[in-house]
């Protein structure tokens, strides 16, 4: 199911990217509005929905570090609460997703008051810390009452797991971009039509922009997750090599003046360069031990490929599909602009010079 959503988002984006009609035409208004609203929706929905973990998350986190609060998605029964002599209230609660998991929440008066205001059996997200056993938790604050959608809690990533909607599509769409650059390079070598060279160059250009953005967003995230911006993690090393490979592509292009020769050489280079892309993005970082989710010594295969169902819930799958779709559209829009400028440039160069 999650693979269908990921693949569907990408394929729909690629289909709409080439639709309607010849690629060098301006995109229609509805297309541009769709692209903008999808990216806006991704940004809002990626940041806004609260994270609601399960009681299991709270137990695992609490055994490792009992000072850390975990937002859990639960249903409390404040009407059955009992108060002890110190003014703390004990409230029975169940996991909102698994009603057979029963726990006790220990709350001070203000939090207990908020839970009473929410009412019995209302789904709430409460940030809790494991107290003396796996059955008693200290409730610190009510995060959300009856949230419409929730995102899963991933131990060690927490709020930073939301980067999946912004950073991951960048590198995935970059792979598609380099693939398109390769396809049009082949088409150029077959037909010797310079229009295909424009397409190939524009695809590689926006692809490189996306690769750079994936690197920079990853580095900012790494500062807060791993402690430093850059530590030559296998993932960082491989994307750095990828950037070098495509930097060489643009250096090659800029060093040749004759358009025909430039197109021929860069098409050949682009085909060879693409061979490295799947290795550097999908294979090499998964084979080596590292800090990036999905490295070979990660406890699971990373949130996206993990067989564990709680690593990415249906909401997150849907949002990730949407984010792939919207950043694919954004890619095609930028590429469309770049192609049109390249075509006009060739026409202007072909005009006789007015003096």
């Amino acid at each position: 199911m999650k693979f269908a959503l990921m693949l569907g988002g990408t394929l729909l984006g690629v289909f709409l990217g080439f639709f309607p009609g010849p690629f060098g035409r301006p995109k229609p208004l509805w297309w541009r509005i769709l692209a903008i609203s999808c990216v806006a929706a991704t940004t809002i929905l990626g940041l806004l929905p609260p994270i609601g973990g399960s009681m299991t998350d709270a137990v695992i986190q609490g055994r490792a570090d009992s000072t850390k609060s975990v937002p859990v998605y639960i249903r409390a029964q404040p009407s059955k609460a009992v108060e002890d002599e110190h003014g703390t209230v004990l409230i029975p609660a169940t996991d909102a997703r698994a009603s057979n998991v029963r726990v006790m929440l220990r709350a001070f008066a203000p939090v207990a008051q908020e839970l009473r205001a929410a009412g019995d059996e209302t789904a709430v997200i409460v940030s809790v810390r494991r107290a003396e056993s796996d059955l008693v938790f200290q409730a610190d604050a009510v995060v959300a009452v009856d949230p419409l959608i929730t995102l899963p809690y991933i131990i060690g990533l927490e709020e930073r797991a939301r980067i999946i909607f912004f950073h991951v599509p960048m590198s995935w769409v970059a792979v598609i971009a380099y693939l398109i650059a390769m396809i049009f390079a082949v088409r150029f070598l077959r037909t010797r039509d310079l229009q295909h060279d424009d397409m190939s160059m524009a695809a590689a250009s926006v692809g490189t922009l996306y690769t750079i953005l994936a690197t920079v967003t990853g580095a900012v995230w790494a500062k807060f997750n791993w402690g430093s911006f850059w530590n030559w993690d296998p993932r960082q090393t491989s994307i750095f090599i990828l950037l070098l490979v495509y930097a060489a592509y643009f250096l090659l292009r800029n060093s040749i003046d004759d358009p025909e020769r430039r197109a021929r050489l860069s098409a050949a280079y682009s085909i060879v360069a693409f061979v490295t892309v799947p290795f550097l993005i999908f294979i090499l970082p998964r084979l080596l031990p590292g800090l990036h989710p999905g490295s070979s010594d990660d406890s699971n295969a990373g949130p996206l490929l993990s067989p564990r169902s709680d690593a990415i819930n249906p909401t997150k799958q849907l949002l990730f599909g949407l984010s792939l779709f919207s950043f694919t559209l954004m890619y095609f829009w930028l590429m469309n602009l770049r192609v049109r400028v390249a075509r006009v440039l060739r026409r202007v160069n072909a005009l006789p010079e007015k003096s």
Binding site: L47, R160, L209, V341
Partner: protein
């Protein structure tokens, strides 16, 4: 700044989203500059 973002991790993700927008804006700026240069050449 680093401390604030460590304690409020959602802002780390907000920062990455803003970096994306900034990157796309820089790219648009460069395409715009190329286009302007072309327009000037056509004018001449």
């Amino acid at each position: 700044m680093i401390n604030f973002m460590t304690n409020n991790a959602t802002y780390v993700v907000l920062a990455t989203a803003l970096i994306l927008w900034a990157g796309i804006a820089v790219y648009l700026q460069r395409v715009d500059a190329r286009l302007r240069e072309l327009e000037q050449r056509i004018e001449r």
